[in-house]
Every structure is written in C-alpha cells, then in structure tokens.
Amino acid sequence: MEITTRGLWTMIHGMGFGALYLLACSGALVELYRRYRSPLGPEIKEEDERFLRIYLTAMAVLAWITVLTGAYIIYPWYRAVPPPGTASLAAFPQRLLMSSPSTAAWHSIGMEWKEHVAWLVPISITMAAVVFSQYRRSLRIHPELRAAVVGFVWASLLAAGISGFFGAMLNKTAPVTGGSTITFVQGAQK
C-alpha cells in the first residue's frame, strides 16, 4: 500500500481539508438556524456562543488552508508542461485531459470553474466568522445581518461542493501523481 507525495498532498487537500470543510458547513448552518433564528428563542449560553465563534473561525482557517494548498502546491503539478518529446502524459494531468475530446471538458469547464469559484469559500466564511464574532447574540435583533451570514455560509457550501465534486472527478480521470513514493504497508505476495 503506497502513495506518491503528490498523491498524498492531493488527498490532504481534498479529502482532508476540503471534505472536512463541507462537513463543518452543515454543523454551522444547523447551529445558526437553531439558536439565532428568533429574538424570542431560548437564552444562549456564553460557552455555546464561544463554541460557535471558535467553530466559524476554524472553518475560515480551514477554507484558507484548502485554497492555498490547492493553488500553490497542487495546481502547479496539475498544470505542469511536459518537455518536448514526452511519450506519456500521465504525470501532466492538464495536458492529459486536453489530449482527448472525451476528457477535455473536465479541464475547460471543471478545473476552470473550480479554480476560481473555490475562492468564494474563504471570502464568504471569513465574513461570516467576523460578523458573528462581532454581533454574537445580538444577531437575533439584526435579522438582515443574520440572513446575510446564513446566506453566505450556504454559498460557501455550494462553492465548496462544486470545487469538491470537480476535484474528485478530475483526480479520478487524471490523478496528480509523481514525487517520491511512500509505502504504508508492505503486502504479502500471493
């Protein structure tokens, strides 16, 4: 059981940071809806409010780490240009996808959309975390601000979902591979 360093980074970016963000989004939406939807709801405890503040801040940090590792670690491997005369394009995912009409749209639509729309995630969740930290329980008496926070968290979930879907499909069609090989478990030969 082994993986290349590039494969490992791609897994950390997508299945680690990205998937964790998607999971965290549902929790944030439930908490915001359950506790802050009405000014007449039950009293919010200080520690619950502190928890949500830390939770949203952690989501913002996670979102930034996800886009930064994607854009500055994995994307350069994805878009690497093969030297002239290269026979196999397996180590050059973008060129591999573009080499066939049946896979070219995974790049021209999938990656082109993913690489840009993903940046709406940290922008949206950073705003949500800052506004929540600033207003806390008084968000209940600012319904428009609360709607904006919830709306932008929904938008971040949508944008992260688009990015995650295309990331998974791209990696399935033309995986980012290369670098040194890391062996986890040496299996017995049959």
Partner: protein, 115 residues
C-alpha cells in the same frame, strides 16, 4: 417577551449594523471581483501576463491576489465609513447577494466565455 423587545432597541443603538453591513457588502464585492479578474485575464493577453505573480501557479495567482486585495480594501473603506452608523442593511445585503450570485455565475466557464 416584552423585556426582550424593549432591551433590543438600546442594544441595536449600542451595536450599530454598519460594521456588519460593511463586511457583508465587501464579501459580495470580493466574490464578484474573483470573476471579473478571471474574465479579464482570460480575454486579454497583456492582463494575463500581468496576473502571473507566481509562475508555477500562473495567472490564477494574480487573479485571486488582486480580488483579495480589492475585497480587503473595500471592507476597510466601508468599515471606516459605516463603523458608527446604522445603514439600510436590507438593501446592502441584497446588493451583496446579487454580487455573490454574479460571482458564482461569471466564474462558470460557458458564461464567462460569452464576454
């Protein structure tokens, strides 16, 4: 119930909606600018070259850096203008959602390619 509604008014005065509205509108502007810079870099070779801040990542590095700079600048400016004020937050939020929607829409390549 009445206690809560009477305590809301002074609380809203103490906690004006301006800073929150500034953050919301700036997020809409930032989202929209990601799409605008991406379209500009895609359509004009000179802008594409200018956006090449970090060669291994290519123009994406400049597109996103510029959008983030505009987002943070807009946020700072709006915060400075609205920090002590109550603004019409419903209209501000609507504008932010329109910009966010356009940001998602205009980053979709078949739509971006129409320009």
């Amino acid at each position: 119930m009445s206690n809560q509604s009477t305590s809301s008014a002074p609380q809203a005065k103490l906690n004006p909606n301006g800073p929150g509205a500034a953050a919301v509108l700036a997020a809409g502007i930032g989202s929209f600018m990601v799409a605008i810079f991406a379209i500009l870099a895609d359509k004009a070779a000179s802008i594409k070259n200018l956006m090449n801040f970090y060669k291994p990542t290519g123009p994406l590095s400049g597109v996103t850096t510029c959008a983030i700079v505009v987002w943070l600048a807009a946020w700072a400016l709006l915060h400075w203008r609205w920090s002590q004020r109550n603004v019409e937050v419903g209209r501000v939020t609507a504008a932010a959602f329109i910009l966010l929607f356009l940001g998602v829409l205009l980053t979709f390549p078949p739509i971006a390619d129409l320009f």
